[in-house]
Amino acid sequence: MVHRFLTLTAKDLRLIVRGHMLTVVVAVALIYVGLVNFVVPEDVIVKPTVVLWDQTTVQSVRRLFEAAVDGGAADAEIILVDTEAAFEEAMAVHGNRLGLRVEGGETPERVVVTYQGHENPEVRRLLEASLRQQLGPLRGEAPLTFATETLQPGTAPERPPFNLSLLPILIFTEAGMIGLLLAAALFYSEKTEGTLRAYRVTPGGLTEYLLAKSVAMGLLGLVSTTIVTLFTVGLDVNWPAILGVVFLSAVVVTLVTLVAANMFQTISQFLFTGVLLNLVLALPTVSYFLPGFAPVWLRWLPTYPMIFALREAYFPTGAEAVLTGAVGQILLTLVVVLPLAVLAFRRRLIARDV
């Protein structure tokens, strides 16, 4: 059985290369490398909202900000508050808000900058330098004291640049979702040639047949992942975790694809279902950008753990459980999907004599 599985995998890899599928995958990988390195910026400038609580009597900082906003010199929205409760409430409304608390009597003595916790160090340093420059002269000769506080410390102390933060999505898209289309193409080419029928009158079984296709697609996923990772973040990442998650994910997505493709006679009949399947399996990307959106049904999609495992593998936060949990869920899916795929193929092939 092992020998047959290896032979089948070698044959599928040969068909992948000769069918120019490898070329397509490498080309897409290089496009992604170009996108990450040269097109997508490292940081997306979002107009910040500043919650300002000026506790001084002269309200000089408040006036300064209002003048700057009115004059178009400051690209920020200002929310003015005058109590601690109002300050906390305003900060809690949106994770993108920055707080500025000005303490003092008549003149400002101390400025406390309040962060949400996800801001990266560069942004913080830039903001603080700007504040020192703008507010420093308000106190004349006496130095103005600056302090910072963080509402949710440790949420993302080393948040990756925006362009690199797209990597899990890009890898997931190419290794997982392009695998979906290529697996279907490979399956239908065999169906059209009738070679699947020829295979059925050999001692080869369906388990080896399906596993070989999935493993071949998994290896194809490793090629694209290696290219994209190597030319964007380099060697200093958790390679075993990244490659492991990608390989297992591609295997599972291929099996799911083959089960769906098996229900249709031609690739054009499968197209609508294929696109629908692609959309459904890609839904977890929404959760990636909007972590608050993660209903239970979405988390049960086999692609959900893949994306978050990839994020943890690329940008470790120390949450090992995310990685191990995801790998466990992917393996569990594999254990469930493989026998179902074999059963579905057996019923369909024998019923239709494919």
Partner: protein, 284 residues
């Protein structure tokens, strides 16, 4: 018996059964022809015998195995050549045979020797996409022999082939029979069946309507005819006379008695004529 079929029925769900209660047996080393027009149920029967379709009703034994329970190991013993050349077009001829040879659990034939045998040695390293139809058919035949099968199923092995290649296929089948291989031949080519088969079964609308050796079928259903040429008033005349008809027998005797005969040839009915007589329909 290496193939035993009892009361086999198969339905695709239509009004009529594709196979409608057929029974037959094939002995070891025999070339058994399964003949009939398109839609008669030949391929369905072969697909059930090879496990591509399930046994719905009836009993089928191949190589001593009940096809309802036969495992994958059966395929180590049988070879199947399909009507349509179903081979990997992006692989070379040699890669195709090497791949299929690696799937068996028994000693297989050397792929290159097989290619040599079927005359594809020079094209061994060419991708199959560049092969002609005849070359592809030869490759399919070679593939079906890669596991040195004890039972060889051939589905229309000469369909669309030129006369030279057809004769080559006939010689190859005879050679394998001489080596002890049992051959189950499905065809609507009566010439091929007549040239090859030890026994044939005529299949019509899912039923076997006649089964015997080609000679016996021709003797039983064919008309015994004699073609004679004789001279009358210096002119050469040709007549076909039936030996079953008393008046025509007397006419033949008269020609012999008068000593005017120049040539005389007995004529057998062809299998095709027998088929038409038995079923009332042509093969094509």
């Amino acid at each position: 018996m290496v193939i035993k079929v009892e009361e086999l029925y198969y339905s695709y769900g239509g009004e009529r059964n594709a196979v409608d209660g057929i029974s037959f047996e094939v002995e070891k080393g025999e070339i058994f022809g399964f003949l009939g027009p398109n839609g008669a149920g030949k391929s369905t029967t072969q697909n059930v015998l090879t496990g591509l379709l399930p046994v719905q009703k009836g009993r089928v034994e191949v190589a001593g195995r009940d096809m309802r329970r036969a495992g994958h190991d059966l395929y180590n013993l049988i070879g199947v050549s399909f009507e349509n050349p179903n081979i990997y077009l992006r692989l070379t001829g040699l890669e195709n045979l090497q791949f299929f040879a690696s799937l068996y659990d028994r000693e297989t034939a050397d792929p290159m020797s097989l290619l040599r045998k079927v005359g594809l040695e020079e094209a061994a390293h060419q991708r199959v996409a560049a092969y002609s139809k005849g070359m592809r058919q030869k490759l399919v035949l070679a593939r079906s022999l890669v596991n040195r099968p004890e039972i060889w199923f051939l589905d229309e092995p000469t369909a669309g082939l030129d006369p030279t290649t057809t004769q080559w296929v006939i010689d190859l089948v005879r050679e394998k029979r001489d080596e002890g291989t049992t051959v189950f031949l499905t065809t609507h080519n009566m010439h091929v069946a007549d040239a090859l088969c030890d026994r044939v079964a005529f299949l019509n609308e899912g039923r076997i309507v006649a089964m015997d050796t080609p000679r016996n079928l021709k003797l039983r259903y064919g008309e015994k005819l004699v073609t004679v040429e004789h001279r009358r008033d210096g002119r050469l005349e040709r007549e076909v006379l039936s030996l079953s008809d008393e008046r025509e027998r007397e006419r033949l005797a008269e020609l012999v008695r008068l000593g005017r005969l120049e040539t005389i040839h007995s004529e057998e009915a062809t299998l095709e004529e027998v088929f038409i007589k038995v079923t009332g329909r042509a093969l094509q």
